[in-house]
């Protein structure tokens, strides 16, 4: 029993990271209908930015985290401006291919620059281990969950309560009409990328802290899985991305613990397909009947 609780706790930490990455996916998808395959790599870049900030320049952890988020936001804006914006009117699949190209580019540039071998992440926060009975919780796990949840609430607030959030929702629903309202949609889209990327970067830094290992290919699998999480929860829906992330994280850990870790990657996708078959728009997604 304790074992199960321990595994679920491990799953929540992992899930909160998936959730953070999934949020960016969901936002970009919501606004551009683009599966931004480069998002996983922005998460990786965020981890490296954090690595430089904390390790090389010796920033404190909160500052390092903010630096990584800011840097990734700029990167997100640049990518959108130069790789995606010119293709806004092109077939959607071309945009998708471009996103994959950007993803390759980021990975391989990083391999060139920092090498492919994994690096230890600067352990700025000394590890503390708490025992509750036989169950182990570390201060890092607590930080990860707290930071993720705070960021999610912040995002939810921005999207629901602020003017810019309203503009985001408007742009995601109908770009042309948003233009008629006087909304500068380029700015709104840039901002969406910035926010999504900085969330991914936060996830990257937290992962560095949690797993103490970062490398240029670290974004590939989490990227895919976070997208699965976003779809699971209902893509384009912010609480859905969080829910999906947690479900996926917990399911994966439970599967590795009680079935086999080799089928873990498959489980994410099996869950995905099953959920899509039952609820074609994800758990929280509203099933829109196609207008006839």
């Amino acid at each position: 029993m304790e074992n199960v609780i321990q595994q679920i706790l491990n799953g929540i930490s992992l899930g909160s990271i998936y959730a953070l990455i999934a949020l960016g996916y969901t936002m970009v998808y919501g606004i551009l209908r683009l599966i931004n395959f480069a998002h996983g790599d922005i998460y990786m870049m965020g981890a490296f930015l954090g690595y430089f900030a904390l390790g090389l320049w010796n920033f404190s952890f909160p500052i390092g985290l903010l630096f990584a988020m800011g840097g990734a936001a700029v990167l997100g804006i640049i990518i959108e401006r130069f790789a995606y914006r010119p293709l806004r009117l092109a077939p959607r699949i071309s945009l998708l291919i471009t996103a994959i190209g950007v993803s390759f580019l980021l990975e391989n540039l990083m391999v060139l620059w920092v090498g492919a071998s994994p690096r230890p992440f600067p352990q700025k926060i000394p590890l503390q281990i708490y025992f509750i009975g036989d169950i182990v919780v570390t201060n890092r796990q607590i930080i990860i969950v707290l930071v993720s949840i705070t960021l999610m609430f912040l995002l939810q607030f921005i999207v629901l309560k602020t003017k810019v959030g309203k503009a985001m929702r408007a742009v995601s629903f109908d770009k042309e009409t948003a233009l008629m309202m006087g909304i500068d949609i380029d700015k709104v889209i840039s901002l969406t990328f910035a926010i999504g990327s900085s969330l991914a970067a936060a996830a990257g830094v937290l992962v560095g802290l949690y797993f103490n290992k970062i490398d240029p290919y670290m974004g590939v699998m989490p990227g895919l899985k976070a997208f699965v999480a976003a779809v699971l929860g209902g893509i384009g829906i912010i609480p859905g991305a969080m829910l999906g992330g947690f479900i996926l994280g917990i399911a994966e850990v439970l599967v590795s613990a009680f079935i086999s870790s080799t089928v873990r990657d498959a489980v994410a996708f099996v869950i995905l397909i099953l959920i899509l078959l039952i609820r074609p728009s994800g758990i929280l997604g509203k099933y829109m009947r196609e207008k006839v």
């Binding site: 074992n3 595994q7 492919a116 994994p118 230890p120 281990i129 797993f211 103490n212 870790s261 080799t262």
Partner: protein, 379 residues
Amino acid sequence: MQRFLKVMLLLGIIFSLLIFPLQAAGTIKIGAIFPITGPIATFGISSANGVKMAFEEVNAKGGVLGSKIELILEDDQYKAEEVANAAKKLIERDKVVAILGEVASSMSLVLAPICQASKVVMITPTSTNPRVTLVGDYIFRACFIDDFQGTVMANFVYKTLKLKTSAILVAVTSDYSKGLAQFYKEAYTKLGGKIVVEESYSEGDSDFRAQLTKIKAAKPEFVYLPGYYSDIGPILLQARELGITVPFGGGDGWDSPKLLETAGKAAEGCYFSNHYSPESKDLKVQTFVKNYKKKFGETPDALAALSYDAAMLLVEAIKRAGSSESSKIRDALVSFTKDKPFRGVTGSIYFDQNRNPIKSAVIIEIKGGKQVYKATVKP
């Protein structure tokens, strides 16, 4: 249609550039195929570094048989079809005399038949699967095959450390890891030890807490963890976090400065089998480690050392053969014997009838943040 023709023309030009070899005379061409991008790029880059350094040293001393060595390095992204393309290109277009590669046994199994068919010598630095060299008489390797290291470690744990229960955590995606684990298990249970739990992970994973939680519950005295250092570091850290205090152990995949960097204190008191100890007094080892550090800014790992040796072995064979003809190199390679072995960084090497090297292993303990020599095991 105009544009279409232009595109076709351009592609035609690219294509024809591909087929016609660009010959540069006066050098001995040696190919190398490693996964320097893709999921196991870490290992590929280390291997490539070892090879590059070896040939640069040889060329600095005036080359071999009076000509310089030209290294043609190819990336295969850890994909079978890329290995095949790279091999065909090296053999047919660049006309190399020998190929060094690949890292992984599965990829070496794609490479070997091609080399064998074209009668080009192939030396794989690190592929441990016995099948590789069985493909034909032009295929060699520079590393132990699986059974040796696994058995060595089982003996050491049971007899020297006197630990009677053990857990195994194996990387199922790695031939190497699976092989080691299998032979460790066989030898250990034969000696009377008990494997209390077997868990697995995939290379490149980052969360091992699920498996470790289960291992913790089984309360073993020792955990055998054959795998590569890139995964070992996080595993050790997470294990210690979860409160597993027993020693861990593995094979030459552990040999990297990165391990100590990542794992830090978590690695204290762990053991692994290796080809050599970096603190060995052997001058060859000392200069290799020093030069490598100077050139690449880091201590070499086992892959770099083995690749360096594979390259040097090849050069030595060319010297002995007095020719850069592939068949002569092959003959020279099998002519190394117990009394007249090739002396490399990873030990003295000569080949058995299946072209597997016969060499001894050392056990290393991690103590005070350093690799400390513990024992030597002869085959």
